[in-house]
């Protein structure tokens, strides 16, 4: 599903590498926590997967393709297989929950009836069936993150990348989001989640990949935060 083969990423020549010589393999259906101190390269890991950046050296496979060989015009089609969720939700303020989710399907050119049914289904899944016509400003932080997850998931991607999805949420709400991600993971979607939240990692007991200054220093099944 995802494979990093001796990947090094240096943003600016001369500066120290954001990732150094990382090799890791993640299978279909896994749930992986990416932990490590600030600046250890977690976001860089995600950006490489999305092909927002190319590695300085090494090779990356995602969704059956080697990203270094992917021509630019194929990148959008790659991204349709990778859903993303961020700490700051990134919802469009002028669209309702429904419209935010539907937007993804419009953008990739799905016909209207398909959009209608798929969006309603996924909003029910995240538990927002009742609030689908609210605007982001009318939803709590946790609810906004649920909309963001629905948006990332509506297209049934193979992988869901979550970069500190609970960073802006209080502990209780964070647990709710974790439960939702677990539910999505059970449908067979691979989940990679970067986080600082020791409590969550310890609670879930899933695979933990720890980065430090760009190197993978730990890769543990059923691991804890640190």
């Amino acid at each position: 599903m995802i494979r990093f083969d001796r990947v090094t990423k240096i943003y600016n020549k001369g500066s120290s590498p954001a990732l150094r010589d990382c090799s890791v393999e993640i299978d279909k259906g896994e749930f992986v926590f990416l932990v490590g101190p600030s600046g250890s390269g977690k976001t860089t890991f995600m950006r490489l997967l999305l092909r927002e950046e190319l590695p300085t050296s090494g090779r990356i496979w995602a969704a059956g393709r080697e990203l270094g060989r992917l021509s630019n015009w194929r990148v959008p089609y790659l991204r349709r297989n990778l859903g993303c969720v961020f700490q700051d939700f990134r919802l469009l303020a002028n669209k309702t929950a429904f419209e935010n989710v539907a937007f993804v399907l419009e953008v990739i050119g799905r016909p209207r009836p398909v959009i209608e049914s798929q969006v309603n289904q996924v909003l029910d899944l995240v538990g927002l069936g009742q609030k689908k016509h609210r605007f982001p400003s009318e939803l709590s932080g946790g609810e906004q993150q649920r909309v963001a997850i629905a948006r990332a998931f509506v297209n049934r991607p193979l992988v869901l990348l979550a970069d500190e999805p609970t960073g802006n949420l209080d502990p209780e709400t964070s647990i709710g989001i974790m439960k939702l991600l677990e539910k999505i993971n059970k449908t067979g979607t691979t989940i990679v989640m970067a986080t600082h939240d020791a409590g969550l990692v310890d609670m879930m007991r899933r695979r933990v990949v720890e980065l430090d200054q760009g190197s993978i220093v730990r890769d543990q099944h059923r691991g804890v935060y640190g």
């Binding site: 630019n72 991204r79 937007f103 953008v107 990739i108 050119g109 016909p111 948006r151």
Partner: protein, 301 residues
């Protein structure tokens, strides 16, 4: 509208129009600048053509015309021809313009005096010798030599008027073109910047679209369409303005004057249509450049 269009076309149009409306101040300024610059291009073209039409008689450096009697006999014409050849120190070269050629020319020159033209037939149109003189100031001498000869109707040579007109219009055209080019630059930048602002004010949407896998063209086209619409709106205004200017010009300046002098400044319908087409083409090129640069520079993947 949305019912009859495919979702994608519908989306593209909706986006472009809403972007235009959102930055309406900018949009209006861009359209106006396009309109003004293209009107100037159009005006320059029309002035050029009008002067060319009015001075068609004086083409090829001709600076004296000896009009012959329509009923002139070949012998008399031959004698005049010999005299022209006999004055090599005054006359650089001459050519003969027959009945038909002069009739065809009269159709252009007398365009605003239809009554005078109606009175002519090819047979009654005087043929002429068109001469380039060694020295334009000799024109009076040449004229007085031939004017009273048998078979010569009269001799005309352009006054100060025609020279001034040509000089003036050359300067006017140059100024118009320089101003037009400067404004076209401004117009392209304005278009580029409406699109840039549109991209900027939608940067969240754009970043989300990129993340969820929208193709480059799907993202770009609404913005480029915006630029095109501005260019076309500007071209439409310019086309209207040029038409109107031509009317005003016709009614104010283009009055028939004494014969022999350049007659009415006018342009044919064909020339007007050509001008309008050029305006539209320039607008399309202009807005393509503006919007192309904008999406290339500010929507980089």
């Amino acid at each position: 509208m949305s019912r009859f269009l495919s979702p994608r076309v519908d989306y593209t149009l909706r986006e472009a129009l809403s972007n235009l409306w959102r930055n309406r101040l900018m949009t209006i300024a861009a359209i106006l600048t396009v309109a003004v610059s293209l009107s100037l291009v159009g005006s320059a073209m029309l002035v050029k053509q009008a002067v060319a039409n009015a001075t068609v008689q004086w083409d090829h450096g001709v600076n004296a015309i000896i009009w012959l009697d329509p009923s002139i006999t070949p012998a008399v014409r031959e004698s005049i021809h010999q005299q022209l050849l006999a004055m090599p120190e005054d006359i650089a070269s001459c050519y003969y313009n027959g009945h038909k050629a002069d009739y065809a020319e009269a159709r252009i020159v007398l365009r605003s005096e239809p009554a005078a033209f109606q009175a002519l037939t090819p047979a009654t149109t005087p043929p002429s010798y068109r001469c380039r003189l060694r020295n334009a100031v000799d024109a009076y001498a040449v004229a007085s030599h031939f004017a009273k000869q048998a078979g010569v109707k009269n001799v005309t040579y352009p006054g100060q008027a025609i020279k001034t007109m040509r000089r003036t219009t050359t300067v006017l055209q140059d100024v118009l073109l320089v101003v037009a080019i400067v404004l076209m630059l401004s117009a392209a930048v304005l278009i580029l910047n409406t699109i840039r602002l549109a991209i900027f004010s939608r940067r969240h949407e754009v970043s989300v679209m990129k993340l969820v896998g929208a193709t480059n063209w799907f993202i770009r086209i609404p913005f480029m369409l915006e630029g095109f619409l501005e260019g076309l709106a500007g071209a439409a205004c310019a086309a209207g303005i040029v038409l109107w200017l031509q009317k005003v010009f016709d009614s104010v300046v283009a009055k028939p004057t004494a014969s022999g002098q350049p007659s009415a400044l006018w342009v044919s319908t064909g020339q007007l249509v050509t001008t309008e087409i050029v305006i539209v083409i320039v607008a399309v090129v202009l807005s393509s450049i503006g919007s192309g640069l904008a999406v290339r520079r500010f929507l980089s993947t």
